[in-house]
Amino acid sequence: MRNIDTALWADEFRELLARGFYFFDFLTAYERDSQLEVIARVVNPENKQSQLLATMIDPKLGEVTSLASIYLGAVWHERETAEMFGIYFVGLVDDRPLLRRSLLGAPPMLKSTVLAARMLKPWPGQPSHRKQQPIGVVEDWLQL
């Protein structure tokens, strides 16, 4: 995996497309140490080589240039990553949510987001004689 400066993200893919990496495999995001990283993979079907690229998103800006004008197939992945992680893809025209009804509210894939299902259902693993914090739940998680 190669780490790319966010400012050079789209340029890098434009160059890869010119070099024959014309199959857009996927794009997604990953939360690493409270910072979001966008990851994408493209393939050159002729020689079966692939390139996996990543870029750390500046938390103050929360955005990266869309690859949709380079790879049409990136649209679906960017729409999904936008609604799930709250990342803004600059230049992505289609911002309709795919799975969520609206983009209001906290992005569900952020570790800081407490999902409604986690508030409504008690953790089945709670020991009877001491309090334990469930795995993957934020520190100040409160059961309703």
């Binding site: 259902k121 089945p124 693993g125 469930p134 795995i135």
Partner: protein, 115 residues
């Protein structure tokens, strides 16, 4: 290895429980990311032949997996220290309502005997 229908034997179809191997340790319940395993147990004293003092053992009362919430990750199967959970390739257990996907001890054990 594949079963008669050509599906690999270790395919993530359904989770089979061996209740007699389960010690109610709760490890799978706590590690399950979907919070879809629940169990209840009570302690019983058993005196084994030749033993001086009785031993306290956990006896399983209920054990359920809600396959409507399960994401088939296999963490529970991997973390169980007593091999009480294992994958079975059966996948054909659709239900007419979400509650029908909650399987208890009897259903989870029945997968053991399937080919």
């Amino acid at each position: 290895m594949t079963n008669p229908s050509g599906i690999p034997a270790q395919a993530h179809g359904v989770i089979a429980l061996t209740a007699s191997a389960c010690t109610s340790c709760m490890i799978c319940v706590r590690e399950c990311p979907a919070w879809c395993i629940e169990l209840e147990s009570h302690d019983e004293e058993v005196t084994e032949p030749g033993a001086r003092r009785p031993r306290t053992v956990s006896v399983l009362d209920t054990f359920t997996i809600d396959f409507g919430l399960c994401m088939y990750c296999g963490i529970c199967v991997d973390v169980c220290p007593f091999d009480a959970l294992e994958w079975h390739s059966e996948f054909d257990y659709a239900a007419g309502s979400p509650g029908g996907l909650i399987q208890g001890i009897n259903e989870l054990e029945s997968w053991q005997s399937k080919p």
